[in-house]
Amino acid sequence: MLVLDQIEQYMCPNCEYPIDGCECACPYCSDFAGACALGGLWTFGLREYYSSIKGPHSYFEVRVNSERIRSHVNNVNLLATFDAETLIRHADEVNPGGGIIYDPSFSAVEIDKVDTIETPAVLRIKARLAKQGLPATVAGILDEAKRRNVNLYPIPYNDIIAKTAAQIGEHQLSKVSRIINVLSVSVSLALLGFDLNYLDQSLGRTFGGKKKVIEMNEIGARMAYDFAKDLAKQPFPYQLRPAQNQSRLLLMGNEAVALGKIVGGCRVQTYYPITPAADESEFIESHENFDLLDGGEPGKKGSILVTQTEDEIAAITMATGAALTGVRAATSTSGPGFSLMVEGLGWAGMNEVPVVITQYSRGGPSTGQPTRHEQGDLKFVLSASHGEFPRIVLCSGDLEECFYDAIMIFNYAERYQMPAIHLIDKSLANSSATIPQLRSDMVPIQRGKLINSGHQSEGNGEYHRFAFSDDGVSPRAVLGLPGYRFWNSGDEHDTIGHIEEDPDNRIKMMTKRMTKLETAAHEIPEEEKFNFFRSTKKQADVTLVSWGSTKGPILDAMRMLEKEGIGVEFLQIRLASPFPTESVREKLAGAKLAIDIEQNYTGQMAAVIAEKTMIDISNKIVKFNGRPMSQDEIYEGVKQIISNPSQNRRVVLTHGA
């Protein structure tokens, strides 16, 4: 049963707030995705929102397919709007043959008057309309769409809301008007020929016990559904059909990380609020007491302590203090917060403390674009803090990696006794997708040379926290373990942990710490360090190199390229420290045409590769406008470079609103 690639793009506030401020935990409130997931389809959802609470434009783009999809595309087939602004901004992204859902009352709105649209955008749109001799109004926008063969579906939302209010006997229209989102979803489903039951079920999940709210939504939804069915005399060219599937999850990256942390044994999480990291901590906090399996501690619940600190300096130092007690401890932040954690990171490195930092990269530098996407922090996290000490840097590429890496990184941190940075980004954090069910038993818990509380040592003074060893790793006791008194110091220290300025001790201790990174490089299996995808074609025409959230659109673009007979390899680097130098060198040495694909200005991973392997990947596809890459953009970028294989191309992608 093949279902066409469907894309839905719409604004989401079904609660009082726009997506960012949404109270009912987006993307469930994206009931469209929920309904599709219930119908057994694969979904991928993208959120874009401003750094402010109410006011400006935010939108949600959902892609649906019967095959697994991992990215968004440039253009959509169906655009559902609740306000004039969305129409003005996005109408030109609808494919010919697609449709637009809107309220007919918008038509008169003048583009100039919508002051939440940035001046550069207003100028661009007005110029475009003028060229076609169309007025600078929503009517002009709609005319333009019609000329491009886009179907228009005017829906009188306010009428339906008023009727719904009447039906449930609610006088305050404002209370009912929140259903506008659900109305648009149900209109979409009607056009797409999907059963409304799926929406009803999805609503049940979203609103839980709130009967009255569910009822109100259901009534409105049915009314809108019927209205739309009537309106679409000809069936909309794109139709969805439910599919068979296994049990799946529909979740966002920050939730995947949160679940991974809980499963992975994190029991203290500190944080200071920051976009887009705070969602993860808040998700964990709302699950601070959780059930254990048989074989855990039967009858007992597990728990995780989430503490909001006064700043990010406290967040990392508090997590580090916690980690000294043997607890798996983490903190979660994004760029500006990480910048404040740098000194604390060095202390953990010096004292060989396995503390985990989840870093959600966003548009930088400085406050930058707080709610926008970028992979601009790689080189920074690799060398953050003064002096030299080893660290783990693990970069996840999709939601499943977010989850499993969140477990694995604690294993790395504890086995090699060093701070470990889980590097993800805004796009992963806020994208939602249906993924296969996650498993709690895939990654065993490995605690390295942790001294078991059973092993009582005799007397005290004998324990050397930083004892020298071949692999650089010392047996690790925790605070409070009877018989194992120890010292830490940010100063260079002896094996006991006391300050030591002797030059020979210094050489040994530096070497001990740095040796651990070699141990890690040696012990961690290659398949955990990178992924290498290749198309069926034997000889690859092009080798794509990337890391992080570009994985999804690259994999999707690969399918497009393959269809055209282009052989593609894709090297996704996951472990940035210790770096898999030999493997990367080997993979790139054989490449016919290598292209670096990164969501930043300079191509930071390419720089790291150059430093480590002396291989220059001079062809680059980069994007730094704050919006994630689409499958189409990557496809086009690769084609552009292939078609003109002179060296030193830098393709700058620009899609997104």
Binding site: N197, L249, I262, L293, A314, M318, I407
Partner: protein
């Protein structure tokens, strides 16, 4: 096992300057530890960076010498993860009231059951005597090229404004008072501050041992010096706030405390300025959210089943996120 003073000695060479008040603090603290019912295995000292911060290396209990200004978050992190630990944080006045004062304020707001000791010497010792935040405006120690340009902060008043529930001051060379005060602080349920007046003979030639000892103030009758610090305990002063007190009485108490905190110069009160056990500790506040917190604290949880995999019931955790194909009649 009874803890003896000699048990608390380490082999580490003590490199404080001769005559440093830190020696007095070290002695008093160690005596207090031997007199408290503390399991040495559960005791952890955290310190900041400064001359004062080295104390943990001279003390034979687990000791975490942290970063400049960050001793409080490190220490709180450990205590939160393992509420069984006896945690004492120690640092300089520059460390705790200069670069670290933000953490000072917020630690007060939490009221975690632990103790914080400040070596209050009026200078940044380890970096050669710059003015610390407790040095008064216009004072010029021998290490300063010019009189101090900043107004001082008073740790007592600042602690009160920040929500500390135990606030005391003592003096490095009054060993008996020092150790008694530290004992009270450790025994207090909640976050306890002990500000210790500490002569730094190397850089601070104003607030010296002689000055505190009142050697410039010879009593005409006894011909003896009149020390500046006097013990609140001897004056009938009582800074405790108790559950039974009326709002009005609390108000009066507060005024009294603030009045006392403002005394300085020829008469310097030492002792417990304020103690309030009517305010729930952070541990209590957590228990209201996580009922098993003290029973099975974060550090006490089992992270793996015997087979090495996670004991977490992921299915029940991700229930909300789960989408299973429902067979619909259609």
């Amino acid at each position: 096992m009874v803890l003896r003073l000699s048990d608390l000695k380490t082999d580490v060479h003590n490199d404080w300057c001769p005559g440093c008040g830190d020696f007095g603090i070290e002695a008093g603290l160690k005596i207090a530890l031997t007199e408290l019912p503390i399991d040495i295995n559960k005791l952890v000292l955290f310190s900041g960076i400064g001359c004062s911060g080295k104390i943990v290396h001279f003390t034979n209990a687990s000791g975490i010498h942290t970063l400049h200004g960050r001793v409080l978050p490190f220490a709180q992190g450990a205590k939160l993860a393992n509420p069984d630990l006896e945690v004492i944080a120690i640092g300089g006045d520059g460390d705790g009231l200069g670069i670290g004062v933000g953490h000072f304020v917020h630690a007060g707001r939490r009221n975690i059951d632990m103790t914080y000791i400040i070596h209050d010497n009026g200078v940044y010792g380890l970096t050669k005597g710059q003015a610390s935040p407790t040095l008064h405006l216009g004072m010029q120690t021998k290490s300063l090229p010019m009189p101090n340009i900043n107004t001082n902060v008073d740790p007592i008043m600042l602690a009160l404004a920040s929500g500390f529930t135990f606030i005391a001051r003592t003096y490095a060379y009054n060993t008996k008072h020092l150790k008694e005060t530290v004992k009270k602080a450790v025994e207090h349920k909640g976050f306890a501050l002990v500000d210790i007046l500490q002569p730094c003979p190397t850089y601070n030639d104003i607030n010296t041992k002689e000055w505190y000892g009142g050697e410039d103030r010879i009593d005409a009758a006894t011909k003896k010096p009149t020390p500046r610090p006097y013990e609140l305990e001897g004056t009938g002063y009582d800074g405790r706030i108790t559950p039974m007190m009326s709002e009005d009485d609390v108000e009066k108490k507060m005024s009294q405390i603030i009045e006392k905190s403002r005394e300085w110069g020829d008469k310097i009160p030492i002792g417990v300025f304020y103690q309030n056990e009517t305010i729930p500790t952070y541990e209590d506040r957590i228990k209201a959210r996580i009922p098993s917190y003290l029973e099975v604290p974060p550090s006490g949880q089992q992270l793996a089943k015997p087979d090495g995999t996670s004991p977490v019931n992921l299915a029940s955790l991700s229930k909300q996120l789960l989408f299973e194909r429902l067979v619909l009649a259609q």
